[in-house]
């Protein structure tokens, strides 16, 4: 269908565009709140391009142009180039190990001149979403088969693995969002259940005393056996299953979790996760930090970020302190407030009501994307739409959770709101590609 109507508004979902614009607007206002100083002429600095909010405004303008271009392109382009782009993304990520520039301790940026840096891992989200959609939508792919599921998992895991190697745990975690998209396409629910159970077990291990947890797990297992004793007598398999799960849980709690903290994670990550639950992590147990004794000793991070972030949000109360009146924001108590902790400025200025409305806007966006996904005829568009929704959801959930102390601090920006050109551009592309695909929902894309 090449003779497509060229008015770009044809079939485009305006609800999404409005929500997108509102969120970007909120973002700029939030950054403005963070950077605002009483004695400065804000209009001048908005136009001056020196401050972060004016930069974000410029980014937004640039993104609008990009968005327009995306809407002007052909949907088939995305299906056609999906695999190629994915390969390019992986290549770029590999290139960072050679060309990478060290920013804030993570070597995941490629300088592209003019003071700008590119983070391939960000872009890779788009490419992975496209590649995953492409793979699942192939005629020969039967996603109910384990082989297909493994390949799909591999597509998502490859960039994640590279991100971990770049010390970007946050970005790596984002790729687990694709599990939700895959779940929609027929990934067994057990994987999600087991996965989330594992997370809960890890958190429980952190919070509770190891022995107490072991005892309570044993008690739970015993209770289950007690309830199911009649069935258990009949079938040895059920009993074996319960005992097996119990062994697995205790094993995880006893050995796997300490192993992850001591051997897989970096010292600062372990410390952060521990400090989130109010505990101290002994870095001397960490094998990774031991290996790097010769290097500069890692500054011991504490829970300053979370504490300040919670203080800022908590001090907002029901209605907040008002626009530009937040003392914590003005005093710059929350580190990285214009990027990862942008939610705190909102929470302080507008309080619970503001946060609630803000989250509702996000939820509306997510639901709208899910709705769009379900109305697609082509699997490619649907998988892609679910990927977008999952990525957005994961970002929002993790970012907001970490500012309110529900999740360890990982460097994940709040979509469309946090300061940062890369991130804004990525989400813009993600969303507008979706809109482009949605505009052509009558087509069956492969």
């Amino acid at each position: 269908m090449n003779n497509r109507n060229n008015t770009i508004s044809q079939g485009v979902d305006w609800t999404i565009i409005w929500l997108y614009a509102i969120l970007v607007g909120i973002g700029i206002l939030c950054i403005f709140m963070v950077e605002y100083r009483i004695d400065s002429n804000w209009l001048q600095s908005f136009l001056g391009g020196k401050t972060n909010y004016s930069k974000q405004l410029i980014f937004a303008g640039f993104c609008a142009i990009v968005a327009t271009f995306i809407l002007l392109t052909d949907s088939k382009l995305f299906t056609a180039f999906a695999n190629l782009l994915y390969a390019l993304g992986i290549l770029l990520m590999l290139a960072t190990f050679v060309l990478g520039k060290n920013i804030n301790g993570s070597k995941s940026w490629i300088p592209i001149g003019g003071g700008f840096n590119l983070q391939p891992a960000e872009l890779c989200k788009i490419f992975t979403a496209l590649a995953l959609a492409k793979f699942i939508s192939r005629q020969e792919t039967d996603f109910s088969k384990l082989r297909s599921q493994l390949i799909a998992g591999l597509i998502a895991a490859a960039p994640a693995l590279l991100s971990i190697l770049q010390h970007e745990l946050g970005l790596a975690l984002v790729y687990s969002a694709f599990l939700i998209a895959m779940y929609r396409e027929g990934l067994p629910a057990q994987i999600l259940i087991v996965g989330s159970s594992f997370v809960i077990l890890v958190v429980a291990t952190l919070i509770l005393d190891p022995d107490v947890l072991a005892i309570s797990l044993t008690v739970i297992a015993a209770l289950i056996l007690l309830v199911l004793r009649k069935q258990a007598k009949k079938s040895k398999r059920l009993m074996m299953l319960v005992v097996g799960i119990w062994l697995l849980c205790v094993g995880t709690q006893r050995f796997v979790v300490p192993y992850i903290f001591n051997n897989v994670l970096e010292c600062y990550q372990s410390t952060r996760i521990y400090s989130m639950v109010g505990k101290e992590y002994d870095c001397s147990q960490n094998k990774k930090s031991e290996r790097k004794v010769g290097e500069k000793a890692a500054r011991k991070p504490d829970d300053y970020n979370v504490r300040q972030s919670k203080i800022a949000i908590g001090s907002g109360g029901l209605t907040g302190r008002g626009f530009l009146k937040g003392t914590q924001t003005r005093g710059k108590y929350v580190p990285e407030q214009h990027t990862d902790f942008i939610f705190t400025s909102l929470g302080e200025a507008f309080g619970f009501i503001g946060c609630f409305v803000f989250l509702c806007i996000y939820l509306l966006l997510l639901f709208r994307i899910v709705k769009i996904a379900e109305r697609q005829r082509s699997t490619f568009s649907r998988v892609y739409a679910y990927s977008v929704a999952s990525i957005l959801f994961f970002h929002i959930a993790v970012n907001v959770s970490m500012t309110i102390g529900l999740f360890p601090i990982v460097g994940i920006p709040l979509p469309l709101v946090s300061y940062g050109g890369s991130s804004l551009l990525t989400f813009t592309i993600l969303i507008f590609v979706l809109l482009r695909l949605d505009a052509d929902r009558q087509m069956v894309l492969r």
Partner: protein
Amino acid sequence: MPVFNQSRGRMVQIIFAVVFLVIIGQLINLQLFSVKYKLAAENNAILRKVVYPDRGIIFDHKGRAILENTISYDLVVIPSETKGLDTASLCGLLNIDTAEYKKRIRDLIFKNGYVKPSVFEPLLTNEMFARLNENIYKFPGFSLTERSVRTYPYSAAGNVLGYIREVDTAYLRIHKDEGYQMGDYAGMTGLERYYEKVLMGQRGVKNFIRDNKSRIQGPYENGIYDTAAVAGKNIHTSLDVELQKLGEKLMTNKVGSIVAIDPQTGGILCMVSAPTYNPNYLTGSQNKRHLADLLLDPRLPLNNRGLTTRYAPGSTFKTVVGIIGLTEGVVDLNTSVVCPGYFTGCGTGKPKCLDRGVFQFTNAVAHSDNSYFSTVYKRLLEQNKFPSTDSAIAAFNVYANSFGLGHKLGVDLPFEKTGLIPTASNYYKEFGRKLFPCNLISNAIGQGKVETTLVQLANVMAIIANKGWYYTPHLVDSIEGGDEEGLLDGFKVKRHADSRIPESVFNSVQDGMQAVVEYGTAVRSKIPDIIMCGKTGTVENYAKVNGVMKKQPDHSFFGAFAPRDNPRIAIAVICENSDQGARVAAPIASLIVEKYLRDSIKGKERQAMVEDYTNRVYLPPVMRMAIAKQDSLRKLRENQQLLEQKLNKKESDEGTDEESIGEEPTEPGVTPAAPVKKIPQPKPLPKKKPDTTPAALTNDDRKYKRSAR
């Protein structure tokens, strides 16, 4: 396209919603139910800055400010902004070297942080301020800020006015409900302490927003929670600063005190404590060092000897004994007592009396006859109406106490001593349960156990001048804006000596006291054309020198009032370890009296007397020795330091790699190569005799050496 998965779309939405609900739940918890975050936010961001009001000004009797405020300047630095500073030229202006500069900056950053303003050099001298003010634009990060400091325009009455210091933890503990905090200043001695509540005013609070590095961002909520500072109240005292200055001049190089009271009001006209100090030394940039110097001075210049030192009053006490004797009728004006050289009543040959002859009351006062007053005292205690000596003493003390003796008068200065009018129980330890009048006989002439403060003695003079009444001696007449705490109430009550004493007795004592000056012991202190009544006192005293009690030169006492009719000044003077009362204390008192009554000293002879007494040196031998010891110790220390410096220099000249880090603090600029004594009056110190006590010195020397390492 597996259609059966369609329901999972709903499931995904549910997952989204559940996670969002969890987040909203935590938000409710944080924002609606946790008060602590709001508090923490305020602690974080709101800086309560206390605004200090100016302390009240203290005026003298004639409305001259004797303690007021002045602006001083601090050199303040923000270390983070000193990039590209011409360190050398700044150091040149400040007379420090660059090493010292770096050390100070390092200390300030350590103490106060990198971005906050810290005081680099407090309380600049005027010339330093002028020099810096011209050049301050050259030094980024440095600025001059005002601060209000106390100043004593007359450099006088330091012991009375007192000084303020930064409060310490002990002070905070005692005054914990009065809103002091670390860094506050409070009056520590003198009027500054006693009237602290009046002088300090009301502190204001300003709320500021500060950022994460404690830099102030602006007022909080436009200052609606701020309170304004209320300046301290000014107080008007009865002091006459010129009289005070004359007194301090006369007491130069002496140890003692002068207290003069206006008998009509009880207002203290001057209260000199010698040696004194220049109170301005405790306000300038070197105040800490000066205070340390003063605290270590063996002459104890910070003591207010008019109020906080107890003296045996000596013969001046005879006036009281005489009044009681006449009132009780144990003697009358015609009673004659013989002085054969000593008091015969007790058979011990004590006390001695110097002028042999027969004395009646007036003459006995005039010539201060020990025999006579011992007789009076003995008769008082032997009266038949008393069953025992104990009760006789008690009866005597009722009189004495009514003269304001033996208890605190309630002068408006801190640390007033009570003095002692001994009761029978004071003697039990010495003489057993049964006392005989002869046990106590030296009290008759104001020795023995009798002790008074000089204010009490001056007050006795005022009572005699007034013939039986007095107002509590006090310094402060009025407080501007009202005396809300009722601090002055006690000074408005007319108090009376024992009502049994008839006016005629006072007249007789006044006759005697007039005779003292007219032809008695203090005849040389007579002021032309002014009828002054006085009483000399010469007090024997002992001090422990090298563990042996040794007789010291006499304390010289004089109590007086003038003019006899309509008295305007009552005065008491003591000059420790000087001479007889008539030779030192009486002339000094007469000069003060003349100055007060006539506003100036008339006549060449009298003016020469001022110079004569100013130039006399009466330092107690004990103090001389202590000073000599201190000086030789200091000398040793200096030599030691010079030696060390030389050694260091040699080492560095030899080019050893070892940086002499340990020695760095002893920079050549700081070493007191010629330490300037900060005591205002340069006393001609006694000849240093470093060879007199070599054993003691080597000991201390060794001690010092160890501590110097």
